[in-house]
């Protein structure tokens, strides 16, 4: 479990970082917090020719709250999100979910951009980005582009990013004031990879009926995604325990999980229903 040999670069500009990646023709990898890439390399599951460290690239590590959206730099670490009062005010679910992200040592180092690019199906932030209709800003040798979070993930540990593209920021729409939300995750131990997790939020219209229902799932699917049938079952309804129970069943039916050593397909599917129900109950409180 010792690292293979590799070259190391610590560029001081984005352009330089992109150029290094482009020159390697796909054999180099950007590294941010290194919380996933380093173990993968130690296990020799990845042997990049070089690491392009983004630590000295300026302008990637701030949280900016604008009128309509909040812009979170790719090098922002979980700890910053956890502690940002402003963020907690405009998109409260982000800060609240952070306590589920691994352990505090890892939260001190792990980054937003790293997690999105790694695309672990059990990770919290990709699901938060998808559920919150976030947009991902990337820069590559062909220029900059913005990708809808839902389009970024193409499979487990796979994204649509080109080899020389670097995530620079994620932009999340600011929430309306009275938005209702819940976040539920089930893991074997605190901080473990999620067996299943649910991000849920909705607004209430003037009649007190649910509108803008969003339900995002992770851990139980190949990629983080929303559950349109469950959302449809919520919209236009009055919140109630019976409704949440029904919507939980709909959510269960919308996923087709994999089995692994920690959880069977059926168990995971059932968890999705249970957690959906609980997240909605949490939202309604």
């Amino acid at each position: 479990m010792k690292l293979p040999t590799f070259d190391y670069h610590a560029p001081t500009s984005l352009a330089e970082a992109v150029a290094l990646l482009a020159a390697s023709e796909g054999s180099a990898r950007p590294i941010a917090g290194g919380q996933s890439l380093m173990p993968v390399m130690a296990f020799r599951l990845a042997q990049p020719s070089a690491l392009v460290d983004l630590r000295h690239v300026p302008g990637l590590d701030s949280i900016e709250v604008l009128a309509k959206e909040v812009k979170i730099g790719a090098m922002v670490r979980w700890r910053m999100i956890e502690e940002s009062r402003e963020l907690a005010r405009v998109v409260p679910v982000l800060a609240a979910a952070m306590e589920h992200v691994a352990h505090y040592q890892i939260r001190n180092r792990g980054t937003v951009g790293g997690s999105l690019a790694h695309a672990d199906p059990a990770a919290e932030f990709p699901a938060l980005a998808v559920a919150c209709d976030a947009v991902i800003d990337v820069v590559g040798s062909k220029g900059a582009r913005a990708i809808k979070a839902a389009d970024l993930f193409t499979g487990a540990l796979e994204t649509c990013l080109a080899d020389d593209e670097i995530i620079t920021a994620v932009r999340v729409p600011v929430w309306p004031k009275r938005r209702r939300w819940g976040f539920q995750e089930f893991a074997r131990r605190r901080g473990d990879f999620a067996i299943a997790g649910i991000v849920a939020f909705y607004d209430l219209d003037q009649q007190g009926l649910i509108t803008q229902a969003h339900i995002g799932v992770f851990g139980a699917t190949d990629i983080p995604r929303r559950l349109p049938n469950a959302e449809a079952a919520l919209n236009g309804q009055e919140p109630s325990e019976a409704l949440f129970e029904t919507v939980g069943d709909v959510a269960s039916g919308e996923v087709n999980p994999q089995s692994d050593i920690h959880a069977s397909r059926d168990y995971r599917r059932s968890l999705v229903g249970t957690l959906t129900k609980r997240a909605l109950a949490q939202a309604a409180k």
């Binding site: 296990f43 131990r189 473990d192 050593i261 920690h262 959880a263 059926d266 168990y267 059932s270 249970t274």
Partner: protein
């Protein structure tokens, strides 16, 4: 020995912690030698197969790679590792020190790469070209017992041994029983997971033809003998040096293939060879344990008296029989009845080989498994008899008037066929546990749903073995300044040996602890010794110290008498001073010129039995299968408490380890025999925050009559009853569903499955 103001019984802080906490401990990983080579092992990626070809030429061409050794370098016959507890049938199943021709488990060493750094050696692993013919893997009892696929073709069977535990006549007891309960139970495959993985540094002195192995743990003296035999060296030509050790728990410190291969390479190339295991290979290579299936039944009379027990245990010991591979097998059979009065027993424990990592011992070997089976049966019996489960247990617990009480005799004998519970009143700890746990109050919650979770409680009783024979040795040396140095064969595996041994020495010599020094574990300190395993160090080492100290005090008396020109018997010794009635006295330092050195060897084959009870309160989320432990209490009686702090730490640690066993740790394989656990992200050890509500109370009301020190081996009390007590609490919590948690671990998925199955049935 002093009885007031003594160190024994006092909460003396661990003296070894100073160096651990200040980062000045030295583990084998910290060691380095000029010109040292690093060893890394190429391991079988298949569970069962034939090696068709090994080509290491590309690896050898890599800069920094010094050599690659394979089975072909081992001479005509690949040596096998000798047994520590032999029996008549296991001979052909011994582990060869390297796979040649055939490989039988995922992780079996096939080649050793020696290089200038561990990194280069790992680079070279990927360059070795090995071709395998994969054979069907046999992994479970059914396929192994079918004997269609054999691990050892010449043996015609995958069964290595059948132990029979017998007492009275079980069949007669069952014939007259009013109630019989029976079921199938299973404890999953685990490993001990010491924080420090294995490792060693082997150095060959060509001029003097001596081998020095640093990184010894557990039983350095036995391993030295094994190594000397295998290297065809005289025993005195081999030294096993103990440095700091980060935990053992039965697994670390046994003799493994890598131990020999590093020493072999050190001699062959005349270079220091260092190896430190990484966590991934650790899971594939260190001894596994605990995989045991039971099909057992318990016979009782109407009034709840246990009449007899019979049935079969099937232990999956993996691909080979390792030095102590049979210990958990025979232990499960002998200790399954535990603290209960069971007059008639007939249990067969079958050990069989499979394409999994070979097994050894893990804290409470066989006892943890047996206690789980027994306590599940007791719970079922209480249901069947419609009797209170506390009353049923209490009725059958042994009392002091029945001591010594014989357990079942286990044949074939490994030298310890017969054994007796030594002392104690098992009802006392049981009652104390009920009281401290506030059983009656908590019982009101049992089976109730509170805030969406079901609450349950349970209590279980256990015995744990200690004081493994045959002997321990020590030496005391009076230094010029009047201080005393202790040399002892007991090794430290992190359990606080230095503190405990010096407490005993200090009291025996009536000297302050800071006048004492200890050296332990290494074979160059003493002519003979044993080590630390089977909860033996305190009893065996401590008893040896008491003997040596008595001799030293006698010598002190003689020397002091000479100086005062009086008869030695006229002197009294206290607090390091010999005094005469006339007021004259001689302090110990004044006789230092006499160079007093005393040695002692304490020999005994009589085990001790600490005993006690554990109670637990859980809350079960039936929708997710999650179980929260709201409280776990263990009460044990250890004969005599030497150090309440270290004892407390041991029992607490064992309890936490036990929760890992019950809920989350499992070494799973796929159907090809590939181990599915590669890291600590897959093998779920308890985290510091997982089980905060553990309490333990230790008493010393009944010293063992069989050892002068009175203390019994202790520290496993937290883990032995935990499978049974937790499973019963979960079953009690979910009684409205009617679930029988007979298979461990109680993972959330398994509990959810049980609830779903019960719902479907209803």
């Amino acid at each position: 020995m002093r009885t007031v103001n003594t160190y024994i019984g006092s909460p003396v802080e661990r003296i070894e912690d100073q160096r651990f906490l200040t980062g000045t401990g030295e583990y084998v990983g910290d060691m380095s030698r000029e010109g040292m080579w690093h060893a890394v092992f190429l391991r079988s990626p298949v569970g069962h197969g034939r090696i068709l070809k090994i080509d290491a030429s590309a690896a050898l061409a890599l800069e920094g790679v010094r050599a690659v050794l394979t089975g072909d370098d081992m001479g005509e016959d690949v040596p096998t590792i000798p047994f520590r507890r032999p029996n008549p049938t296991i001979g052909p199943f011994a582990q060869p020190i390297i796979g040649r021709g055939k490989v039988r488990y995922f992780g079996e060493p096939i080649a050793v790469v020696l290089a200038d750094s561990q990194e280069i050696a790992e680079d070279a692993l990927g360059l070795i070209d090995v071709e395998y013919e994969q054979l069907p893997a046999v992994l479970d009892r059914e396929t192994c017992f079918a004997d269609k696929v054999l691990l050892f073709e010449a043996q015609k069977s995958n069964v290595t041994s059948v132990f029979n535990a017998q007492k009275g006549s079980a069949d007669e007891a069952f014939a007259k029983a009013d109630v019989v309960v029976k079921d199938r139970f299973y404890t999953q495959r685990q490993t001990a997971t010491p924080m420090e993985t294995r490792g060693l540094l082997a150095e060959w002195d060509e001029k003097n033809r001596r081998l020095r192995v640093s990184g010894a743990a557990k039983l350095p003296f036995f391993n030295r003998k094994t190594m000397a035999d295998m290297m065809k060296l005289p025993e005195e030509a081999v030294d096993y040096i103990e440095v700091d050790v980060g935990g053992g728990f039965g697994a670390r410190g046994e003799f493994y293939p890598e131990d020999f291969l590093c020493a072999f390479a050190a001699r062959k190339f005349n270079k220091p060879i260092k190896w430190v295991e990484d966590r991934r290979e650790h899971f594939t290579a260190i001894g596994h344990s605990r995989e045991c299936e039971a099909q057992v039944e318990l016979a009782l009379s109407k009034d709840g008296t246990i009449l007899g027990m019979r049935g079969d245990l099937y232990v999956n010991i993996g691909a080979y029989v390792r030095p102590n591979g049979m210990t958990p097998v025979r232990n499960a059979a002998q200790f399954m009845t535990g603290p209960y009065r069971v007059p008639n027993i007939d249990l067969k424990a079958h050990a069989f080989v499979s394409n999994k990592t070979p097994a050894g011992t893990y804290r409470g070997p066989g006892r943890y498994e047996g206690c789980f089976f027994m306590e599940r049966l007791m719970e079922m019996a209480a249901d069947a008899l419609q009797m209170d489960r506390v009353a049923l247990r209490r009725k059958n617990l042994l009392t002091n008037t029945e001591m010594p009480y014989p357990l079942a005799t286990v044949l074939p004998s490994d030298g310890r066929a017969e054994t007796n519970c030594d002392s104690g009143d098992y009802r006392e700890t049981f009652d104390r546990c009920l009281k401290e746990f506030h059983w009656d109050e908590k019982a009101k919650l049992d089976g109730q749903q509170v805030d969406g979770r079901y609450h349950g409680i349970a209590i279980a009783s256990f015995i744990e073995g200690g004081a493994s024979g045959p002997s321990e040795a020590c030496k005391l040396e009076l230094e010029a300044d009047g201080s005393v140095t202790l040399y002892i064969g007991s090794s430290s595996i992190g359990q606080g040996v230095e503190t405990v041994m010096l407490q005993i020495t200090a009291d025996a010599l009536e000297l302050p602890m800071d006048r004492l020094r200890i050296y332990h574990g290494s074979t160059d300190l003493l002519k003979e010794g044993w080590g630390s395993y089977g909860s033996r160090a305190t009893v065996m080492g401590g008893s040896a110290i008491m003997m040596a100290a008595e001799k030293m005090l006698d010598r002190f008396r003689e020397e002091a008498a000479k100086r005062l020109n009086v008869d030695p018997s006229s002197l009294t010794i206290a607090e390091g001073v010999a005094r005469h009635a006339d007021g004259r006295s001689v302090p110990l330092a004044e006789v230092a010129s006499a160079k007093i050195v005393t040695e002692a060897k304490y020999t005994s084959w009589t085990p001790t039995y600490t005993y006690g009870a554990g109670a637990v309160h859980v809350a079960v989320d039936a929708d997710t299968g999650h179980v929260q432990v709201l409280e776990y209490l263990v009460v044990d009686d250890v004969g005599r408490i030497i150090n309440p702090l270290t004892l407390h730490g041991q029992v607490m640690g064992a309890a936490v380890q036990g929760f890992g066993s019950v809920f989350s740790e499992e070494l799973a394989y796929d159907d090809q025999g590939t181990l599915l656990v590669g890291s600590l992200a897959d093998y779920l050890l308890p985290l510091a925050t997982d089980y905060p509500h553990i309490h333990c109370i230790s008493t010393d009301n009944y010293p063992t009559p069989n050892h002068p020190i009175g203390a019994k081996g202790a520290g496993e009390g937290g883990i032995i009853p935990i499978g049974g007590v937790v499973a019963n609490a979960v079953s009690s919590a979910l009684k409205s569903f009617g679930v029988a948690p007979n298979i461990l671990p109680l993972s959330p998925n398994r509990i959810w499955d049980l609830v779903q199955a019960a719902k479907r049935k209803a």
